[in-house]
Symmetry: C2
Subunit: 199 residues, 2 copies
DNA sequence: GTCTATACCACGATAGAC
DNA sequence: GTCTATCGTGGTATAGAC
């Protein structure tokens, strides 16, 4: 009854977000209409507004869900304490997680400008919190003298940009397996931050 | 006369593209209306169509102009033949050129999905041609044994993603000067591709 | 919670006077 | 080459019946 109603409603909301995710990743937030999303789910436009306040909050929900899941997954990874091992773990995790979710990644990076300022701030905080995990690894390695990093913040941004870039060209059916790509990036990132060098 | 008319017309076209560049970089192609662009230039909507066939060809013109200028500027740079020197030259050039043109860069990377397929192909060819300049440097270095690169194509994509990422956070009034940022990236990129190591 | 119907507005693009 | 005016379409969001 009430439980069934609630669960059915929650399910519809999830189906709406799933459809919106796919459409927005393909065409962009501004180019996707509420009518399109409704059609994809088999609803009329008006029914969407039983599940969200407006179009903007739909976008916010997609980004927030993605970033919170990303953070939770990184937590679950439980990176080792050793900086070199933690760095390799982070690189492999980031590539694997992002390559598996190209739609979410695309939206979270490209649709930031469509967020109202108050929403932008919250999303940026989540992203920053993710970046800070990598930065902490680099700083720990630098302190211990196992990494040679001139500026941990810049190195963090450089590594994340490099890794996220994989989603723009990687195709599962392509020349290289994901495992092979991970290995190449682990190698490049390790070298970039001066890991494994004679002290 | 006819010359004046032509030059005035060309100038209006340039002002339209400049306004469109700024607006599209800020709000996205789909979110910017022809009316907005016209208003910015001080024209009525209809007048825009004296200078372009439609909205799509405006976007194509912006991207094409950017990528052609980028390629020409790289040519003008005349990278040295020595791989290590050429790599440093490319890194500094790419960061400097892109940091100075955030609007163009943003559009060229983010609005690809708004291109009709036939336009997409041409734009992608230009981008690929730019990437190939870096790839050639990496391959030459690898052949001579001065770089340690497992896969030149992947390394190319990794380096470009890393460098272009600078535009997402760099601010001239920020903590680091552009010169300082360049130096940090030269260092990281050199290490990432194994330059300057004992043979 | 979904439906039909609609309010209200903005869109890209074009026509024709000047 | 720019203007005014308009066509035809589709946008977000809401109202009220069921």
């Amino acid at each position: 009854m009430s439980r069934q109603t609630r669960s059915r409603s929650a399910e519809t909301g999830a189906r709406i977000r799933a459809a919106a995710l796919r459409l927005i990743a393909r065409d962009g937030y501004a180019a996707v209409s509420m009518r399109q999303i409704a059609g994809e789910v088999g609803l009329q436009v008006g029914a969407l507004y039983n599940h969200m306040a407006d179009k903007q909050s739909l976008l916010v929900a997609l980004m927030r869900e993605h970033l919170e899941a990303l953070l939770a997954a990184l937590e679950a990874e439980a990176l080792p304490e050793d900086p070199e091992a933690a760095l390799e773990g982070f690189v492999r995790f980031h590539i694997r997680y992002h390559a598996a979710r190209p739609d979410e990644v695309f939206i979270a990076y490209m649709e930031l400008r469509n967020l109202a300022p108050e929403n932008f701030a919250g999303i940026e905080r989540l992203r920053r919190s993710y970046e800070d995990r990598l930065q902490a690894v680099l700083e720990r390695g630098a302190e211990r003298g196992v990494f040679a990093v001139r500026d941990a913040r810049v190195a963090t941004m450089a590594v994340i940009a490099m890794l996220t870039g994989v989603t723009t060209w990687f195709r599962p059916e392509g020349r290289l397996s994901l495992e092979a790509v991970e290995a190449i990036y682990v190698d490049m990132v390790r070298k970039a931050v001066g890991a494994g060098r004679p002290g």
